[in-house]
Amino acid sequence: MTAPLSLERLRSDVAEVLAEEPGSFADDENLIDRGLDSIRLMTLATQWREAGFEAGYLDLAQEPTVAAWWNLLEGKR
């Protein structure tokens, strides 16, 4: 829960909310096709906000891929 926000952590958090194995989806894969819904998106937004990533649920919804979120996070650093 307290791991710093690395690309690795983004992937593992996403895997956890989707109840999938890490590595079973690509960074550029649209996560909605993997079952991501609004509740899971809100959950991720809250977890990451706690770790200092100020993007909200809506920002994440714009382009729901790990790669896009990583770019967003890098842009905010």
Partner: protein, 490 residues
């Protein structure tokens, strides 16, 4: 001393959604709760359009999800509005985008006779001592705290807490020793009835609430079943005198002057028998009490505050306050935190929720520009008296930024909202299905924040994580039923 005295941990006055929610969430922690309801359920009530956080957040915490599904209420995926500059309706949908239509993307339109009874019977199943047809006469207490209630027949129930969820017409809210303060800008009244055979918006919006502005105010059009529709006119209080006369003629007159509702009702007939056969009026002034709590007593729902019906917030504000009250009382009864500390959290969160909806309301009414209309001119932010606005907003805990700054804030909210509505465009178009513009405006973001938290809580249960909402605020415990300091949350 009267021998007719009994004791409980908590007495809840009122068996509507606010009272049932509070009582159930207290009983889930094992407390002895007596709920006193004036009427015998099922009974009629207005406020039929729900929001997703009530259905998917509070509903799951109460354990009524399956029962609500079985009741086959009309599914509502949002609101459709003939409002502002667009001559045709546009949508405010609960899902940000069609592909993100998860568990939180819909709510229900409910017959309150059915919905409220589901919640009240569920409270009893959870161990609440529910008593109907009981008239509470007054609150008893002393300068230190409220100590219980007295019934009309003299019977007393002494309790550590009294929860007033008895609605807008009851007087016992005075037990917290506050004042009810009315907004100067939203003193509306509603006149409403029921119709069979009204038209529906095209699927998948056929279950949406339709709100349509016209010169004298606006109308709601709520599909309760495939054929039954709740129709109401929200108009200026200056019409009150006229409504003393022929209410049917008045209602049909408003319908006749509101183009889209007139069209939707062109082949419909008004229900004239049974519960839905009556035409009713209600004073829909927006108000808030100057305080929601004093030691031993707390206000929930319409007993505490009310905001204009345009956003379907009645049941939301009541059940949200019920959740906050239960968390607060559970914390005190467990001896975890001091009463003043937890009720600071209660009052802070409840006022915040009211304030963000009040700002949204102001921005929303501001969009309907109609310079010829007395109703709309009096409700434009630019025409607000800055001193009156400041007085009301500071009461609900707004930022003390000064009068002119406040009017400026409200103008900016209004401008951003109008812009987002324009960019979203007409319902059932490519852009009109996507809520990014609307959800992205600061006022809507604020409005959605707690409602989203509650839904995550409902769906994820103990796995839900919440950050403090208020500065130096408390957070919910793992089960969501009490408060803990931030360091203690796991």
């Amino acid at each position: 001393m009267n021998a007719n005295i009994e004791t409980a941990d908590v007495v809840v006055v009122g068996g509507g959604p606010g009272g049932s929610t509070t009582a159930t969430l207290l009983a889930k922690r094992g407390h002895r709760v007596v709920l006193l309801e004036k009427e015998t359920f099922p009974r009629y009530q207005i406020g039929e359009s729900l929001l997703p956080s009530t259905v998917h957040g509070i509903g799951r915490m109460l354990g009524v999800t399956e029962e609500l599904e079985k009741a086959s209420f009309m599914v509502k995926r949002g609101g459709s509005f003939r409002w502002g500059t667009n001559p045709v309706p546009w949508n405010f949908l609960f899902a940000v985008a069609p592909e993100l239509s998860g568990p939180t993307s819909y709510a229900y339109q409910v017959e309150r006779m059915k919905f409220d009874e589901i919640l009240l019977r569920n409270a009893a199943r959870n161990g609440v001592d529910v008593r109907e047809n009981v008239d509470v006469k007054e609150v008893i207490g002393d300068d230190e705290r409220v100590r219980g209630i007295r019934l009309a027949d003299g019977h007393e129930i002494h309790a550590t807490f009294v929860v007033d969820a008895s609605g807008n017409r009851s007087r016992i809210h005075q037990g917290v020793r506050g004042e009810r303060i009315y907004s100067d800008f939203f003193q509306n009244i509603a006149l409403f009835g029921y119709f069979e055979g009204g038209k529906r918006l095209p699927a998948p919006d056929s279950g949406n609430i339709l709100c349509a502005a016209f010169d004298e105010g606006w109308m709601w059009y709520i599909p309760l079943s495939d054929t039954l529709t709740s129709v109401g006119a929200v108009i200026s209080r200056e019409h009150a005198a006229k409504l003393q006369g022929d209410q049917e003629q008045s209602l049909l007159g408003f319908v006749d002057r509101c183009e889209i509702v007139k069209d939707f009702l062109s082949d419909a007939t008004r229900v004239t028998e049974g519960t839905y056969g009556e035409i009713r009026t209600r004073k829909d002034y927006s108000y808030t009490n100057s305080t929601f709590h004093r030691p031993g007593m707390v206000l929930v729902g319409d007993a505490a505050c009310f905001i204009d019906p345009v956003f379907s917030t009645g049941v939301h504000l009541a059940t949200y306050a019920g959740l906050l009250a239960a968390r607060s009382i559970n914390t005190v009864l467990a001896g975890d935190l001091a009463e003043d500390r937890v009720f600071e959290e209660f009052e802070g969160r409840y006022r915040r929720e009211y304030r963000v909806f009040y700002e949204f309301l102001s921005a929303f009414y501001d969009m309907q520009s109609n310079e010829e209309s007395y109703f709309w001119k009096a409700r434009k932010v630019t025409n607000f008296n800055a001193t009156d606005l400041e007085a009301f907003v500071s009461l609900v805990g707004g930022v003390h930024s000064g009068e002119q700054a406040l009017v400026q804030n409200f103008r900016e909210s209004s401008g951003a909202l109008a812009d987002a509505v324009e960019r979203t465009g007409t319902m059932q178009t490519e852009s009109g299905e996507r809520m990014h513009h609307l959800f992205g405006t600061p006022v809507v973001r604020e409005v959605m924040q707690e409602m989203n938290n509650i839904q995550v809580r409902g769906v994820q249960g103990t796995a839900a994580r919440e950050l403090p909402l208020l500065e130096d605020g408390l957070v919910p415990a793992a089960d969501g039923l009490s408060w803990v300091s931030v360091g203690e949350a796991k």
